[in-house]
Structure formats: C-alpha cells, structure tokens
Symmetry: C2
C-alpha cells in the first residue's frame, strides 16, 4: 500500500491532493462530461459491474471514446482504492470532453478516478422520512449520468427556503427523479411502481427491483403522475450512498413513513448488499 | 512584459500552460459555472464594459459571490493580455462553483482568466451565408452565460450529417438563438427583428441594435416564430468572434444572402468597432 492516497488523472496516478484538469478541457469550458459514483465498503466497490455498465453506456451515448477497456477501468479503480485504507468511501469515475482545438470537437477525452470521503449509510431504515419539493424540470439526456447538475445546485437555496430535504423533478406532472435518487411508490394494491423514462436508471433502483422480485413484491415501471405520489401508500427514494430513504412529505401532502413494504425492501436490500460484499471480499 | 504568457487562476498568475482546476471543483463535478468571452484586438478588449456587466449579472443570478470588484477584474484581464503580444485573441473569464464539502453548497467560487488564440474575423461581410439546422431546445437559465453547452457539443455530429454550419435552437417553434450567436431577421417592411426572451443577450446583439438605431433602421425585440425566418428578407447571426454572418439557408428554406440591410449593419458595426478601438487604445 502506497503512503499517499492516489487519484488517476488522464493517464497517470498522482497524489489525490494534486488531481486537477486543464481549464481548457471541454468538461469545464462546455460542461461536457459524464461520471459514475459508487460506494466502497472497505475495499469492495459495490455493484461495480452495474456502475461500469452504466459508465460505458454513458460514454457511448455521449460519443466519448474511452482509451481503457472494462478490465483496465477496474484495475485503475482498485489501485485508487488500495492507496488508502478507508471504512466507507466513494469512487468517482469522470470522463470529460478533453482538449479541443475549436471548443467543440472531441478528440481525446480525459479519464479521472478519484476517491472521496463518505459517511456510512444508516445501519437501519431511517425512522423518519424526508420531505420533497416538486419542481418542473426535465434533465438533458436523462439516461446519461452527465455532470449537468446546474438546476440542482441552483435550486438549493429555493429548497432550503421551503424547508425541504430534496427536489423532486417532474415534467408537466410526470414524475422523473430527484437530482441524485430515483423515486418509488407503493400503490393501493401493494404494487411497487417507479418511473420508466426521462430519468437516470439508478443502480440501487435496479437492485431494489431485483430484490422486490425475489421476495415476491410485484413491480412495474411506467409513467407516474405527481398525484399518484400524493395518494400512494408509501413513497421512498433510492441512491447508492443512502440505499432507501422513506418520504414523509411531498409539497403539502403528508405521507405515512416508513411503511411496511419499504421496511421489507430495506431488509432484503441490506441482506443482498451483505451477500455481495461477502462474495466480492478482496 | 513577462517572458511567459500568463493565466490567472484562483488568486494567482500562473504560466498559461499550467492553468488547471481541481477535479473536485463544482465546475467539473456539477457543471456549475459561468463565463464570458471577448475578442481582444491587439491589447484592447472589445466592449469590455458590456462583457463585465453581463459577467457580473451572470454571477449574481447563479449566486456565485465574486472576490473581485469590477476594477479588480479589469486589472487581471489587462495583466493577462499584457503578458503576451498577439494581434487577435480571445479572453475567457471563468467563474466556477469552487470546492464544496457536500457537492452542492457554494462557498468560495474560483475565478480564472485565460487567453486563447483566435482567428481574426473577416475584414468584410462574408459574401456567402451559412446554413442553419433548427433543433427544438431551450437553454437552461438562458439569460446566464453558463458553461452548459451539453446539447451544442452533443449535436455536432448531427449537424455535420445534415451538412449545416450551425444549430438554430427553437422552443416549440419560437426562435431562441444559435449556441454561440444571436439571430436577427429583416422583415417584409424592413424592420430589424430579434428574439426578446429565452436566449442569451449577446454583446454584439446589443451593439448591432445600437448601430441600427444610429443609422435609422427601426428594430424590435419580440417573440419570433421559425416560419418568420423562412419568409424573411434577410437573416443573419451575430457573435463577438465573427461580428455579423449572413444566413443563406434554414433547414430546407433558401434565403438570399447577404442582403442590403445586413451589409449596412456590417459597415456601421465595423466603423463602430474601429471607433471603440481608437477611443480605448492603450
């Protein structure tokens, strides 16, 4: 193990504190970049295959050619992880537009892998839910994990003023996502429902749908209207950093949280995550 | 004059080749940043006051507190310009979200001023116009010069496939702008017309409206529909780097270009620019 925490930047491992990119990079000049972010438990990157699948898909849609194959990416990620012992951390894999002679044309994207401190997610399902404030907004190229969080950052003061915990994007009343989480509801007959289109397909979302199937909770991916959330039995959001978080309020609508289905899914997801960690122990 | 071309980055002048920003900056991580870009003729930054007005307004709307006042910005810009003798160049003033402990909260934005090579604009109005391809898209926070050019960069292969020279954004048929230019038309009675809302208010746009008034061409800023461009007498776009560029085609609609009003505006604008340069000679 190295004495210095390392980052990988554009072809070389460097001390993490020195990780920087040229100002003329399209990632900064034109906001053109993708990333993925995953939680690392000890030295195990959680659901790495899923994150790499999404990262490679994002790169493809954004027409950002990658100099590394999947195995090359994995080995960079492991080398960054192994440079410092941390109980919980986050790995950010960033791919930017790189240099460009005309400020538009992509030639050689820059890859960076950095590790960031992360608080451990709670050990059990949070006993009190969070409040969401809805906002009409459709993310650009929503199936891609771009670095475009312009509206999310810009809306933070608006969110604080309203006393909310997170923003819920909808497009003309169709539920999309929170800036860093997916949204689920449990409907009146006990179905698990989550939006199908117009949002980033989250890795925790995918895993929650898988564990739901395993424990016999029927689920459906389809268009979801904002009013459906208001009258849902349960609502929760999912993310790689926090797993499952119950929602107790959406704008002025109060919900009971956490609900029994959310609890079952939390328990099953936690067991699933622990099995993953055992299977991938390094 | 220094031996090395300089850039200003986050509090210090550094060799231009070393200008970089930390990867964890919100400008890269969250695409949260603004900029302004101006043409420099010799050592004179053109229409600097207008560009600084817009830059300060952009910073304000984006809630990015600036450590420098207007005079401080001017003196940084001049120091960067004076570090290298160039006939024509571009100055980029960038303000990013800076570091953030939670990846969202803005505390101390980072300012950078870099100079980039630039071809001189043509000495006379281009004799042949360009072709625009229309695309339904509304820029986020359109009155702000954000670094968000995600769609513009992403659409470049689409534009090339169609053989177009630039993209024309419209929102449900309402003309907005080109990614780096404003759009004008001359209507059937000789009025100069340009969109009023939903686009970035360009500095060349502002100056063209001013010279139009001076030479007696009536103008109006209002909603403009795509169909109006198709049947316009003349269409042109404006930008700081290219002044005025005639448009000869929009999708499948052919226009005559350049037209007489465009030519009058070019002549008046060029004289206006030369007067500015004389008045601001350093």
């Amino acid at each position: 193990m190295s004495a210095t925490p390392l980052a990988y930047v554009d072809g070389a491992f460097v001390p993490a504190a020195d990780a920087c990119l040229p100002i003329e990079d399209l990632g900064l000049q034109r906001g053109y970049g993708i990333f993925d972010y995953l939680r690392v438990s000890g030295s195990v990157p959680l659901f790495l295959d899923d994150h790499l699948d999404r990262f490679l898909r994002s790169a493809d849609i954004m027409r950002l050619p990658l100099a590394h194959d999947r195995q090359g990416l994995e080995s960079i990620i492991h080398e960054v992880i192994d440079s410092e012992a941390l109980t919980v951390s986050g790995i950010r894999i960033l791919l930017t537009g790189g240099p460009s002679s005309d400020g538009y044309t992509i030639s050689s994207p820059r890859l960076a892998v950095i590790r960031q401190p992360l608080s451990a997610p709670p050990g059990q399902l949070p006993a009190t839910g969070i409040g969401l404030c809805s906002y009409g907004y459709q993310r650009q190229l929503s199936s891609v994990k771009t670095t475009d969080y312009l509206m999310a950052v810009w809306l933070q003061p608006w969110l604080k003023e309203r006393g909310g915990d997170d923003i819920l994007y909808h497009d003309g009343g169709l539920v999309r996502e929170c800036p860093r989480s997916n949204v689920f509801l449990v409907d009146e007959v006990g179905f698990l429902v989550t939006p199908k289109d117009g949002m980033l397909p989250g890795i925790t979302r995918k895993q929650v749908l898988a564990v739901a199937e395993r424990i016999g909770i029927p689920s459906v991916q389809r268009e979801v209207r904002l009013e459906e959330l208001h009258r849902a039995r349960e609502v929760f959001i999912t993310s790689s950093t926090r797993r499952i978080v119950p929602v107790r309020q959406i704008d002025d609508h109060i919900l009971s949280a956490p609900g029994p289905v959310t609890q079952m899914l939390w328990d099953a997801f936690l067991a699933h995550e622990q099995a993953y960690l055992r299977a991938h122990a390094r």
